[in-house]
């Protein structure tokens, strides 16, 4: 850059700065404005922290039944034996001690949008000026014939982390050499598009590491294509030859029924009897609390204003994370974290006149295929044409060098450390 360019650049930057508003925090009304956040996951924990941060003058209550949060992200790495479950378990204490957030460890049972109140499981009521809703997903227990909530142990989903992760891990470790694992992959839209396929990789890794290479993983997928497909299939051929068989419904027709008692899966094409393990990942929808409050549309997820993450149904409510309709963004922890920061900024803008800037979002999802072989997909997003639209996207390429894949795994580990610090400390 020559001298002249530098000057233009500097003056240019000054002009941009000149357009910024100098909003001084000013609390409206007498008492502190109140924000309630429902759900202490990737979206909710981030939103609560960013609203309360820097002594914002806002009274923030985080409503979350669980005292600790087990992340779905990297739960596949637990399955593959790369991490213990403790490494993906996080406490909420710091949100209270460092940011003054009130932790209320129970479930929200209903939202009264007219009175601007949230009712909790113990019958108590929280008033809010703004509400952030991030309850994640609910599983559609009626979407797989023969399977339901009562069969979560026999045929685990492990699409919510914690006990389910441990059940699936124990069952996976017990698969005998030559045993068959059947995975029912979910239809769109669902949380974590590459998740099922990273899971297949981690299952195959565990089997291979135990010398059980005669075992097979059958993936029954209602979709014709999936995230990072070429990368996963290349990795499966390379690391786990003959161990993974992925089929679309064009081949298997449809799931006719499953029988959790006999571990049987019946498709229009074939019947898998006495499978060593059946992993049912059912269809999904926004968490009940959001649907019951009328925040969802017919899709089962919640429409939002892409410029603010505000609910399209209620101007006092923001919906972030898996429960919202995120346009081109995937349902991921990275996305939820990114959306939560926009919602937090807008909430602060509304309640304490804090400065706001035009919304922009990012996401990257890393997937581990085998030790030191990690791929990624991601992009940048902005509000456009009524949705969060992709501005630019990228994905790892097939045939990348082992060195690059190894570096990508280092990033994956670094990202996990970064996002969990961003959420909880």
């Amino acid at each position: 850059m020559n001298k002249l360019d530098r000057r233009v650049f500097i003056v240019g930057s000054a002009t941009a700065l000149g357009t910024l508003a100098f909003g001084a925090p000013a609390v409206l009304g007498q008492s502190k404005p109140r924000v309630v956040v429902i759900g202490g996951g990737a979206g909710g924990a981030t939103a609560a922290k960013y609203i309360a941060k820097d002594a914002s003058g806002i009274d923030v209550t985080l409503v979350e039944p669980s005292k600790q949060f087990v992340t779905c992200f990297h739960s596949n790495l637990v399955l593959g034996g790369f991490k213990p479950i403790e490494a993906i378990t996080h406490a909420y204490d710091k949100l209270a001690s460092a940011y003054g957030i009130k932790l209320n460890h129970q479930a929200a049972v209903s939202i009264d949008r007219d009175k601007k109140q949230v009712k909790l499981a113990d019958g108590s009521v929280l008033d809010y000026d703004r509400l952030v809703v991030s309850p994640g997903i609910d599983l559609k227990y009626d979407s797989v014939p023969g399977w339901g909530e009562a069969h979560e142990e026999a045929m685990p989903h492990a699409w919510k982390a914690g006990k389910q992760t441990q059940i699936l891990k124990a069952r996976l470790d017990a698969v005998p050499d030559g045993g068959v694992i059947v995975m029912l992959a979910p239809p769109n839209p669902y949380r974590c598009p590459p998740g099922p396929y990273e899971r297949v990789s981690m299952m195959a890794h565990t089997l291979k590491a135990a010398g059980k290479t005669k075992s097979k993983i059958i993936v029954l997928d209602p979709k014709d294509a999936f995230s990072k497909q070429a990368l996963f299939q290349e990795g499966w051929d390379k690391h786990y030859p003959g161990m993974v068989e992925w089929m679309t419904a064009k081949i298997y027709d449809s799931i006719k029924s499953v029988d959790p008692k006999t571990n049987t899966v019946v498709t229009g094409f074939e019947t898998y009897k006495n499978a060593a393990l059946v992993n049912v990942i059912p269809a999904q929808m926004a968490g009940k609390i959001a649907r019951d409050a009328g925040l969802a549309n017919e899709s089962g997820f919640c429409p939002i204003d892409p410029a603010s993450m505000k609910s399209a149904k209620d101007a006092n409510i923001y919906v972030v994370g898996d429960a919202c309709i995120p346009g081109d963004m995937p349902k991921s922890a990275f996305s939820a974290n990114s959306q939560a920061k926009i919602a937090a900024m807008m909430v602060r803008g509304e309640l304490v006149k804090a400065q706001t800037f035009p919304a922009r979002y990012t996401n990257t999802c890393w997937s581990l295929i085998e030790t030191d072989d990690t791929v990624k997909v991601g992009g940048r997003y902005e509000p456009k044409d009524g949705k969060i639209a992709a501005v630019e996207t990228f994905v790892s390429k097939t045939g990348e060098t082992p060195q690059l894949r190894k570096e990508t795994q280092a990033e994956n580990v670094g990202w996990y450390s970064g996002i969990t610090a961003d959420m909880f400390s």
Binding site: R6, T15, S338, F394, G414
Partner: protein
């Protein structure tokens, strides 16, 4: 000659600060500058792997110029701290997409720490990603959409963050391939 980071280093015949004093709006600026008594060197400038170190006093100077230019154009002469705050505030907002991976406490747990980097090097590195001179696609995508103003704001924010004394003196960055 531009250096590897794309900046001309050491080829100036006079201090840019003096040039700035002579530019329009400079009467007020000079007054405010005297009042502000801004330091010309930032302490703790550190070497960043893979990017040549620029002379320490230059950081101070360019930082001040940015600061002054902002003060002038916003009409906040005499309250330059607000202008600087705005810059840093914008940078802090933009940094929302950095902190998901680059830990804000400056620890490197697999992704390089970027806290406390001198502004000029921060910008140089972002530009080298924007120019696809450095290989990481995540960073190319992030930097590719950043304007000069946004890079400057981010750099100002990150330069403003304290570096924990317990951390290694050299922030590490994957070498160019």
């Amino acid at each position: 000659m531009p250096n590897a980071a794309g900046f001309n280093d050491g080829d100036r015949d006079s201090s840019e600060l003096d040039v700035r004093r002579r530019m329009p709006c400079s009467k007020d600026r000079q007054n405010s500058m005297d009042r502000m008594n801004v330091p010309t060197a930032r302490p703790g400038t550190r070497m960043i792997e893979g990017v040549p170190m620029l002379r320490q006093h230059r950081f101070g100077r360019s930082f001040n110029i940015l600061f002054l230019a902002a003060a002038c154009s916003t009409g906040f002469i005499g309250t330059a701290t607000s202008a600087e705050a705005a810059d840093v505030a914008y940078g802090q907002y933009l940094a929302g997409e950095c902190v998901t991976c680059h830990r804000v406490d400056g620890e490197n747990k697999g992704i390089p720490a970027i806290v406390g980097w001198p502004a000029e090097q921060f910008i140089a590195i972002l530009k080298s990603y924007k120019d696809k001179d450095r290989p990481n696609v995540v960073m190319q995508t992030i930097a590719g959409k950043l304007t000069d103003e946004e890079m400057a704001a981010l750099a100002a924010y990150y330069a403003s963050l304290p570096v924990k004394p317990s951390l290694p003196a050299k922030p590490s960055l994957p070498a160019k391939q």
